[in-house]
Symmetry: D2
Subunit: 195 residues, 4 copies
Amino acid sequence: MTFEEEILMYGKMFVALDQIENCKDFLYLIPEVRSNLVYAKPKATSPEEVLAVDGRITVVVGMPHAAGRPRFGASSHMARLIIEVMKRDPAYRAGVNFASDSRLAKWLEGYAAEKGWTYSVIDRRKEPDEIKEMEGSSMPWKVSEAIEAAGGRIPKLFYETGAVGKEPVTVLIGIDPMEVVREVCEIARSYNASP
Amino acid sequence: MTFEEEILMYGKMFVALDQIENCKDFLYLIPEVRSNLVYAKPKATSPEEVLAVDGRITVVVGMPHAAGRPRFGASSHMARLIIEVMKRDPAYRAGVNFASDSRLAKWLEGYAAEKGWTYSVIDRRKEPDEIKEMEGSSMPWKVSEAIEAAGGRIPKLFYETGAVGKEPVTVLIGIDPMEVVREVCEIARSYNASP
Amino acid sequence: MTFEEEILMYGKMFVALDQIENCKDFLYLIPEVRSNLVYAKPKATSPEEVLAVDGRITVVVGMPHAAGRPRFGASSHMARLIIEVMKRDPAYRAGVNFASDSRLAKWLEGYAAEKGWTYSVIDRRKEPDEIKEMEGSSMPWKVSEAIEAAGGRIPKLFYETGAVGKEPVTVLIGIDPMEVVREVCEIARSYNASP
Amino acid sequence: MTFEEEILMYGKMFVALDQIENCKDFLYLIPEVRSNLVYAKPKATSPEEVLAVDGRITVVVGMPHAAGRPRFGASSHMARLIIEVMKRDPAYRAGVNFASDSRLAKWLEGYAAEKGWTYSVIDRRKEPDEIKEMEGSSMPWKVSEAIEAAGGRIPKLFYETGAVGKEPVTVLIGIDPMEVVREVCEIARSYNASP
């Protein structure tokens, strides 16, 4: 990757964060663990090659707010998730996580169908104990599970159920952070406007 | 409460946040849901009467970082917790939540004993379904449970186990945010230095 | 000064900064050198005993914005000014500087008369060369000049003309930062509403 | 200009600001009016087409600090300067202003000579009254003056003397903000290390 391509990554994150900070509807989708927005270098294999928001996206003065600046290595969980997805389809380089509950999960399934997006559910209660106990093996399991549940296709949108000590979250993936933010804002607006 | 007393509350929060942002050891105690620091007006009955950090305390550039400024009404969960505690002992007006896991929980029990602090565990798996389902009744149940588990005394430090969708957390309560931050920093330093 | 009094100083600065950041009219009074708001300990003799805004008050997203947090020692110029004023009247412990030009200066003279405030002008062109050249003697000269120009009274509001390399500024002094901010916001609103 | 080129502009500003915020030596070159860093679109004719730091670059916690984020239209003075320079040489699209005094000005002259940079002085006392009075004509006069003083060449570095109400400043121009920041940091380091 050239330095110019890296600079372009910063530029896209900057523009995407500006958009999400102005998306008031997203407020209601920020989970307890806060959202993060990640953007991986092509062929990234470690979180150090994934740009993310330092301190995550939280809520300040009633609006979404990036706590710090975009920084390579600023995310662990979401970074490892996008790295795992990229092994299956290198076109997906960005992702965002957001809140979920059973009502939203159901609504998202319909929304995805309307959009023609593959939607999938990862039931974390099915995670085998030997996977949980082996450092670093949960993420490959989760992504495989999401793909399997979607009949072999990589889901654009997937829902990870809660587990003991783990909040349920939804993840949306895409080509770059600007696409992902545009889509997640539209989700937020549509959901908030739904009856 | 006079306006001067309210200003003094802001001053104490300001000084406490300055201390926690300079407490590098606290970094490792910040949970996925992020920490908050709360400070209630005497006899507070609603989160609007509790000062808290807007956007919670997150991690930026490798240090604890208050995402926004102290604001009345900025916390829901921790605010309701301190309000509930104050019904039993009005002297406690401040609290902070932080990460936990089984190793830390065990260590904290020993630390509390050394300090002469009452320590308690709330096992959320014991929470009756009718409580869970009744809006606003979880917090009174949890605080009662903590007190009961401590033999009728209000615990200075208590550990709330994880549940489905809920991260386990530890809560430390005290007289004001400066006391609470001084104590939680000492906990962080001692724990990080422990073998 | 007790620690509690120092905490109260932080609280007052915090509340005052919250007010000035919400005073949109003040925007037009922020000078090129940016404003600062200072609050001195009683009997302060050095800038280290004066609380001020780290990075000054600038303009971000079209609103007044404190660049950093209140910090003792964060101001030099305005801190030395309030220290000099306190030698004459220890009741004045806070001050703010803001923009000026000939139209505003004239308007302020009328405003001060209406309020019953002593208003004074420091003509920096009158500053003797030997004063300019002697490190640390400009400020005592300026404050003496302001008092003399006001017939021996300490002015509540004074205008310092520009000089070569120096932007003209207005200074408002008061008991504490909350008073000073309330007054300067009222000045900003009245001036912006003036024909 | 394509949207991708605009995004690249944000990326370069982001990277440049990260560098300047980590350049401790630059601290001593920040003028009373604060620095700004500007980056113009090709053929820009208005400040709305010039990216600049919202709130300028100030000093917080003893380090250079961008008060806000890069935003088109955030600068007036420096934006109009780079627009004027671009009329003569469209390759220059970025600039930064910083402090000056007679000692630094003299040192910079030597530094520029060593680097093979054209260096020029604008003596603002020579500005004709009819120019000063005509809205928007000062900047064209200043840039013409700088070029004339440099024997017809566009200076890479120029010094603008103070005038009544105006602080003296130095301006460095370049191809993009990353070049300009790298160069101004080297100036700061060399000057601070000079005897």
